[in-house]
Symmetry: C2
């Protein structure tokens, strides 16, 4: 049975305009503080209506690239686009190198989070983690989809740090790597033992956190993330070795 995926939609004019202007800003063509061309000029330049230009500028405002003053114009922010943390600019394709770089950042934060969780976790935190573990165990038994429970487990660890920013970051990372958990938990993943491996690694993290042992938790999280990276075909040799 061939996979049927949703039809791709033509991108909206306002999105295209917004992407182009973002590119100008990111490649330095439009420096911080500089005034954008007027809406009328952009409308002519792009060959679209003024409404489309305005919607594009609304997008850029939401992303922190520009701000506008009525009657004066729209201006590039002093530090454009730094209101939030994104993993790529618009023009950058998601390559294997980029994915590995993102994973390394995830590795840094999640190993530290596991250690912090070991020191700060409450009984309630452990219960939430245990629940996700149990759900994954059930999925393992029936060869079902444990992807969401896998995500929930990581978020529960981050929650146990007691730092909402770390939890928020874990959610963000969870979203980036949601699809990459699928090969662990699909039919093939079950058959080849990947789901069982992941679960064993999760159990080791949980045990270390429950024991209140930050170093063991850090090591268990490290092992899990290194193995997860290998399962995705990444090299981890250049990740930290000595800091332990």
């Amino acid at each position: 049975m061939p996979t049927i995926s949703p039809l791709s939609r033509p991108s909206q004019l306002s999105e295209s305009v917004s992407n182009t202007i973002e590119q100008w800003i990111c490649d330095g063509s439009m420096a911080p503080g500089v005034k954008l061309p007027t809406e009328k000029a952009l409308s002519t330049q792009f060959g679209v209506s003024r409404a489309v230009v305005r919607e594009a500028i609304s997008r850029l405002k939401a992303e922190g690239y520009v701000h506008s003053r009525q009657g004066a114009g729209a201006f590039v922010m002093a530090r454009p686009g730094l209101e939030s943390f994104r993993l790529a600019g618009r023009g950058e394709a998601a390559s294997d190198d980029v994915t590995a770089d993102i994973f390394e950042l995830r590795y840094i934060v999640e190993t530290a989070a596991a250690a912090l969780a070991a020191r700060r976790r409450t009984r309630d935190d452990l219960a939430v983690m245990r629940e996700a573990l149990v759900t994954m165990g059930a999925r393992l038994a029936c060869r079902g989809d444990g992807t969401q429970a896998d995500d929930d487990f990581h978020i529960a660890i981050a929650a146990a740090t007691g730092n909402p920013m770390i939890q928020r970051f874990a959610r963000f990372m969870g979203n980036q790597f949601y699809a990459s958990r699928v090969p662990t938990w699909n039919e093939e993943g079950h058959a080849e033992g990947r789901a069982q491996d992941a679960q064993d690694e999760h159990q080791a993290i949980f045990d270390a956190i429950a024991a209140g042992d930050p170093m063991a938790a850090h090591a268990a999280a490290r092992n899990h993330l290194v193995q997860a990276a290998h399962r995705l075909g990444m090299k981890t040799d250049h990740w930290d070795k000595e800091i332990r």
Copy 2:
């Protein structure tokens, strides 16, 4: 001479509408996958024109909260708002606790980055760091503003990791804490030795990185960030202790 700050501008209607809808999404009133009211209904409900509603929805699209299909409507994303990492929702005020939580996340990433920089840095990387150090030194000598050079130094360390994601994160964090460097580098900061302290700490980080010593770099970065937190009035006792 009293401080004159820029007049605050009334927020745009489209921003208000966008913020309200974002609130609906974030507080769960509108669940993932749910269809937003039609543009016409929102226009009536908010008492604004359809163009304002469309601009608001453009903002929400840019932020990853909704997606739309022509003829069908706009829908809340499966995992709304997780296209990027933000430090707060719209309604959340920046409190001291939140700032400390953000700082801890910064601490985790920047200490790890320093260790990685020690292992991976090139001569060019060191030259960039050295340049920022020299600039800060000059600012110290003339009691000038070293805020930008301070930021540049941290970004240079992140760049030396060779991981563009880590650098991007450092830029993002630099933006969040830009204003908090001001008390270090203003007149008072110079007079009370804060600028000198920061520079000494920067020098120690640089020396460890130049020496290619990841553990020393990690420790120096840790010391700097702990001291910086203290300079901002934060407690760091609950940060990691054993993970060295």
